[in-house]
């Protein structure tokens, strides 16, 4: 399909639906799509997970290597997060080095994981100042139907929680489970459309959205990371409303995540 131009009629119709309290796929404004998480799919990876949110699919793989620490944190492991919006996933994604969208996606996921300190990087030190574990989170988008932020963070978390540090491969003793604390931040993304706020947008909604806000919350309901995107703006009330909805939906997503990593 070669249609990257969205007909005005389609946009007007989604607006009209919104003004009547409806969405293009029949969901309520605060209703999330169904989520499916599968872990341990990639044998070559230290950990992996595929997340499906509706028709959106993201695959994340974790790889580990041994290398030098950063000079300012000589006794900490190193974390790197990358995302690729490969042309397999959408007719609008182009081959080539990561663009702005891919870099924003990787950085938002990275911040959610790094700042919440769920990875105990101090336990990934092998020899202070000399040798530490280097960890790579690679986000591979497979099918783009909206809300890559939430899908990517969820897949990264599910992959991390099922990862094993490959110590034997580097002759560094026995393999061990990646040391993680128990309470990961869960992100929830909403967009503003015709002055209404809808959660977990599909691509049709994302394409015509004015503004986007991603809010990561923890188990207690505290806010752990945020990212506003697109050229529109939010009122203060809208931001508060989105945060509250993100806390409620975060709880539901957390249950789905916990179920998938228990096995």
């Amino acid at each position: 399909m070669s249609s990257s131009v969205v007909p005005s009629i389609k946009k007007d119709f989604i607006y009209k639906l919104i003004s009547e309290g409806k969405r293009i796929d029949g969901r309520a404004f605060d209703e999330y799509r169904s989520i499916k998480i599968e872990t341990g799919l990639i044998r070559k990876a230290e950990g992996s997970a595929k997340v499906k949110i509706g028709n959106t699919q993201v695959l994340v793989g974790i790889k580990m290597d041994v290398g030098e620490p950063y000079p300012d944190s000589p006794d900490m492991g190193v974390l790197t997060t990358s995302a690729e919006l490969i042309p397999l996933a959408s007719p609008d994604f182009e081959a080539g080095p990561p663009g702005k969208e891919a870099i924003e996606l990787a950085r938002v996921v990275d911040r959610g994981i790094r700042e919440s300190e769920i990875i105990q990087l101090d336990k990934l030190c092998i020899e202070p100042g000399e040798k530490v574990w280097i960890m790579f989170i690679d986000i591979h988008v497979l099918d783009q139907d909206g809300n890559l932020f939430d899908a990517s963070l969820l897949a990264s978390l599910a992959a991390l929680y099922t990862s094993t540090v490959p110590a034997e491969r580097f002759e560094l003793g026995e393999n061990f489970k990646l040391p993680l604390s128990k309470d990961p931040p869960i992100s929830c993304t909403s967009v503003k459309l015709n002055n209404a706020i809808v959660i977990d947008p599909v691509l049709d909604e994302e394409e015509i959205a004015d503004a986007r806000l991603t809010v990561a919350t923890d188990k207690k309901g505290d806010i752990r990371a945020m990212q506003k995107g697109l050229s529109g703006s939010f009122t203060i009330e809208e931001v508060k409303k989105i945060i509250k909805a993100s806390i409620i939906n975060g709880k539901k997503l957390r249950e789905v995540l916990n179920k998938s990593i228990r096995g």
């Binding site: 399909m1 070669s2 799919l41 990639i42 044998r43 070559k44 990876a45 992996s48 028709n55 699919q57 695959l59 793989g61 974790i62 790889k63 290597d65 990358s82 690729e84 490969i86 042309p87 397999l88 996933a89 959408s90 007719p91 081959a95 080539g96 080095p97 990561p98 790579f136 690679d138 591979h140 497979l142 099918d143 783009q144 139907d145 491969r169």
Partner: protein, 245 residues
């Protein structure tokens, strides 16, 4: 190929290979058609430890305009390995190896596609290696063949690939990782199964002419077995459209 074999690795003994297969036996293969929502056609292939997705977009206007061919569509295959698909993490993005593989696969696919029906267009075939375990180009081309048919691209034939090679002087089908690393020869072959025309042929290592003949014969036999699995996958997806719920 080319790696020094450790002393304790025995690649071939009592007519059995390191993973227990017979010389002319394929690894387990699973093929599924139409697995992605956005793509015009798609396929998923598991081949031994390989996990590969292929997606087709098009025919669509070839852009930028200067790459357009007024006589036919250009076939643009892109073979890419996920960073986590290999033992030592691969840096994302194309390297010389993946650019070469993309080129030979594009050329192989172009031969069977009726490109003259779509002048000035491009047919984009994206092959993503998610988990790599020797023979990714053959598995990738095989997945691409199914994805192209799924996308409704007119073709003379559904292209298919399989490798043959040699370990410890013995000609074998479909090399596994150890055989690929420590063996004597690896020869990926893609064919149009209707005519046995050769669409892709590469070889590295060392084969006598007699061994080559044997290996080619074996690879083509392998291609025909995989070809049946491709067809089954397509029929399985589309026979469903004739059923009443």
């Amino acid at each position: 190929m080319g790696m020094k074999k450790p002393e304790d690795v025995i690649l071939f003994k009592n007519n059995k290979r390191i993973d227990g297969r017979k010389p002319d036996e394929l690894r387990p293969i699973k093929i599924e058609a139409g697995v992605l929502y956005r793509a015009d056609g798609s396929a998923y292939v598991e081949w031994g430890g390989n996990k590969i997705l292929a997606a087709v977009y098009g025919p669509r206007e070839a852009l930028p305009k200067h790459i357009q061919d007024p006589r036919k569509a250009i076939v643009n295959a892109r073979y890419n390995m996920a960073a986590f698909s290999v033992e030592d993490r691969k840096r994302p993005g194309p390297d010389r190896r993946s650019i070469e593989i993309s080129k030979v696969i594009s050329e192989a696919l172009e031969r069977v596609i009726l490109t003259e029906q779509f002048p000035r267009a491009s047919i984009d075939v994206n092959i993503e290696v998610l988990d790599a375990d020797a023979g990714t180009r053959c598995a990738g081309l095989t997945a691409a063949g199914v994805a192209l048919a799924d996308a409704g691209i007119p073709m003379r034939d559904i292209p298919v690939a399989c490798a043959a090679g040699k370990v410890e002087g013995k000609v074998i089908l479909d090399l596994c990782k150890e055989e690929d690393n420590y063996g004597d020869a690896d020869m990926p072959v893609a064919i149009a199964p209707l005519t046995d025309e050769i669409l892709l042929l590469q070889m590295d290592g060392h084969l006598t002419y007699e061994e080559f003949e044997k290996a080619l014969d074996l690879a083509i036999k392998g291609c025909h077995i995989v070809s049946e699995l491709q067809k089954k996958a397509l029929l399985k997806k589309y026979e469903r459209v004739l059923e009443v719920e």
